[in-house]
Symmetry: D2
Subunit: 359 residues, 4 copies
């Protein structure tokens, strides 16, 4: 089989680098094009990553960069040669995404980690296994816009773990209300400048601009129903408070739910464990287990659980009946915000869309 | 006026040391007796604090220890000479408290930071200004037990800030439900061994044994009604998830409430700001403002706000209407767990009981 | 006495804010002018500090900003009205300092925390008590440049504690060699963006660009001899490795010295303790004790010792004979990089120059 | 080939757990016996690790415990059945080691991570590749003590990286003096209670009891010469200051050396890179490269470099000529204190002794 040629927009940034790793040795995709700003274009990727003043390599992942990527010449992200590209992974900031993504979506599938198009009626926010059928909104989008390609998006990294754990609860028991407090990792804020060390040491920052609105809106959209031409948001209430804590990777979320009917801790555990069967056989980046459940009350912990199944599993623990909310269940989850919540999650979307024929 | 002679039980421990500081230069109280385990008895306080092997001074507060305390001889906590004591501040662990506190309560007032007697029907959990009238349960206790003295307790440090902020909401609007997630500081766990550095760095620990039950139970007791011979717990639901984060001092709590009637952010702000008037004039340790309110959405932060009013104020921010809970209001609070939440808060209880004639 | 009117250049930045605090209620100086970039000019200081997008107050010190400062109108730092100013404290970056400082030095004394003029032959680097007599280089500078005012500088914050502790060693015993490794706090890097949280958590950064060269050069200049028209650098070798650790404030330095003659731990302790007598009576910002010495081997620690004497003392511990360097003595020091090492240290320079008649 | 049957003494502790992982799927060794205190004996390893009160699994490594180990029955460490054991890995505390190690050394080879026998004249401290020939001291030991087995030790984890990097410098250029400051990770202190979170957050602890003496003494022994019946310590001076920083794993050391002759940064780089050739082919646990060298001045960093070559490489950077020490070279190293510096390093010693016929 010829491998599917991927372009990475914003390849020199943190998320772009994660795409390079997520696509390394991928069985279906190959990195055909690394694209970045005009300043980097024409340089090798290695040169583009090097800080000229300090000689430091501006590579931000723990794994080493693949040698073949380092030797590739970087293209200008505003002038991709689409004849060499089958799918575009967009890791640029929302402002740049606004212009670039539609430009390439005219011809090619664009999978975006940016929020620029996430809330448009004809653009799905996909999590394979959670709302794969929302992919059919792509047909509506193409018709609306006259595109051969399309744009699809990934949720905000804080939405991801929440939506994944709510899906089986919704399917099994129904959900009335969700009250969530997040303790988010610093990597969610990126590096420009992201979270300043002085602000976060010995501290909690109780606000992340725009985050709570995103989580509330996206969760209801993702868990909504595709009705042929649009998505009807899920009929549930979602409220949250989003905070930043001194953690590198891995968002922790304390979730309180009011379910549609009374159920026990065992019922909920079974629902979590049964979720996502089949995905792993289908999609190379899927975790072996979509939701990992701990009985040890000291788990999940972000440092110990973020890398479960290569950062693609959502880990849940402390499942308890809630004494206050009606049919209440509370639990704690940890989700890797830069794996399942970013590049590798976006690659899994592409895999899912390849299986369903959209790519 | 003759100063009231205080004994500190457990004076060499962390909380005991905080009592030494909280009583330093106090206008009403003086430290008459420093008491600790048999091993320390007979030594000067300075000697008792010194680690023999390493020569290090085992003093755990940022402020220097008072010179006169260092030169005092430490007494055996199991054999206090009560003729020299008017009030006993108990900073011992719950196991020791179980035996020692009743022994001294036969004759003298005992103010305890331990949980040993907190849940007894005839023992109040006091926060001055929040439920000062519960002090009258002391009369019931004395009658029950035939004591001249009494035991009164302080809440768990995680309950304190929550109960303080709920009091004005309950009074002004009524409260149906409270959903709270705490991000607690390490000092709440003490030093034996408390939180191990290896466990908390780059991490969140999602469980503190027994903490959630304490907060739920204590909050309803504190906000309950004294009915002449017992306290009727408040008729509200309280649910929480308690986590530990990498912060030295200052518990952060994300609170979601369902109030008794619809009210605006301004209503709630006014209720918070209006709370506790009069306390400051009455009690030397009372904060100038019981609840400090921030408009800056990035506040409160534990490192920046824990020391407000010498750690005696509860600081609130991010007051918002909640889109999901009925008549919902959500906010974030920071409370200093080892000041208002421990020794200095207990001193303020003693001040309040002095004003009302119990001491 | 009329108070000396101070202007603060760069008043909205971190160091500028520290100047505002260091001059609050000062017995000799008053803040007459707060100056910042054109963008802030004309606003009140309060408005200039407010982040428009998030409504957050960009105030970075733990102490609250003085109310009268908040209400002052900010001037344009490039167009100071010198008729209202007796002394200029410069807290701008080195690039801006290069142009602005000489412009004002033509007429007025400029005390600078920037490095722009630190290495000029006719510009002293002053630490009161350590090399106060270098102030006489100001006369040379004035003559050279035809200025009525002058520029004087403060050392790099990593040099400060080292030079302070070396001074009594040099005076008492002579110094041949100094080998130093620093463990520097994040606040030394400022906030633009300073140290990114992601880079420093669970980590050490073994390089601070330019820092080692500064420390080596400045130490020898500060400890050098003023010979009437120039400073002859001290004849000693200084080598260092500068690292960044996850600490808010307070630089820790492990120092190994080869002294001019054999001396004991007690000799060195006495030299440290005897240093700086007289300063405290003379200068309002001087610490009660210039060098604090700990016997407890676990001290000094940056969190426990940085605030000694309001951050103006250098704290030393672990004084030991060194088994390898000739006449070797090794010790560890902690110095507060943003108090003695920045604004408040610069205010103390101004106090010293006022005493000696230069201001 | 029959696999060599290993016993792990202290298997439930942190270092013991690391031995379990280091021996998992080992080509030459198999874990035949897991031994711990009487309290654990007779339980499965899984049961022995479980905390009864909290249900938490007291497993402290990031990798999951091997399933077959969890099901093994734990033996009493004081009563090993030596007929089932070919080599004993000792991970017990020094006090226990003092009694147990000689007891088993009468019959079997004991490889110890404890310091109990490290400084005995007839006990080698081994680092394969650095001083493999010191293994011959085992013959002396056996003769002295009449043992069929023997005890050999591993250095303190802070010595390991230092000795590894000094070896090629000594061989190529000679070494006169070494001045080192360590910034050590918390895992070096273990968990009983190890470093308390409250002590290390926003802090540096400038003292580790006994550490400096160990490093100074061990380095000279390891780099010494085996003269047929004893080891003649290397004739060089080693002085150090050991500090603890808020890092999980990976000791950072700032090293200043005075070499035997003038040499350039390139000379030193070549010496480092050329060191250890041949080891990797011989020993399964050996790193692909014994010393990794970075040109990027921001490296090595403990978080980024501790895991190089599975934690078995020592990573060096910032190689510079030193302006002060004679023929001076300074550099920074990072070494993984719980891999190469503990269990996996001890396994590599066993591999080396197997190759040389001692096991």
């Amino acid at each position: 089989m010829r491998r599917i040629r991927a372009a990475i927009l914003g390849a020199t940034g943190v998320v772009g680098q994660q795409f390079v790793l997520a696509l390394q040795d991928h069985p279906w995709f190959e990195v055909a094009t690394l694209a970045a700003s005009e300043r980097s274009a024409g340089k090798t990727y290695r040169e583009a990553l090097r800080d000229e003043r300090t000689r430091a390599m501006r590579w931000f992942c723990n794994e080493e960069p693949p040698a073949d990527a380092l030797n590739k010449t970087v293209d200008d992200a505003s002038e991709l040669d689409l004849t060499k590209v089958d799918v575009v992974f967009s890791a640029v900031e929302s402002d740049a995404a606004k212009d670039l993504e539609p430009q390439y979506a005219e011809e090619k599938p664009v999978i975006s980690t940016a929020s620029a198009y996430r809330y448009f009626d004809d653009v799905p926010i996909l999590i394979p296994g959670v709302n794969s059928e929302h992919a059919r909104l792509i047909d509506v989008q193409r018709k609306n816009r006259g595109w051969k390609g399309f744009i699809t998006t990934q949720p905000n990294c804080t939405t991801t773990g929440l939506a994944i754990t709510l899906r089986p609860l919704l399917d099994c028991f129904g959900i009335e209300k969700v009250v969530m407090t997040s303790l988010q990792a610093m990597s969610g804020a990126g590096r420009s400048p992201g979270v300043i060390g002085l602000d976060v040491l010995d501290n909690v920052i109780p606000y992340i601009a725009g985050e709570e609105e995103k989580v509330q809106k996206e969760t209801m959209k993702i868990l909504g129903t595709f009705g042929g031409d649009r998505i009807e948001p899920a009929k549930m209430g979602v409220t949250c408070t989003c905070t930043r804590v001194n953690v590198l990777d891995g968002h922790t979320e304390a979730v309180f739910t009011s379910l549609g009917r009374k159920c026990s801790v065992d019922d909920v555990t079974d629902a979590f464990l049964g979720f996502g069967k089949g995905l792993v056989e289908e999609l190379p980046s899927a975790p072996g287990q979509m939701i990992v459940v701990h009985e040890d009350p000291f788990r999940p912990q972000p440092r110990l659980d973020r890398d479960n199944h290569d950062g693609m599993a959502t880990t849940v623990g402390r499942i308890r009946e809630d004494p206050v909310l009606e049919n209440g269940i509370k639990y704690v989850l940890v989700s890797h915000n830069t794996r399942m919540g970013a590049a590798k999650g976006a690659v899994m979307i592409a895999e899912s869309l390849h299986r369903s024929g959209y790519i």
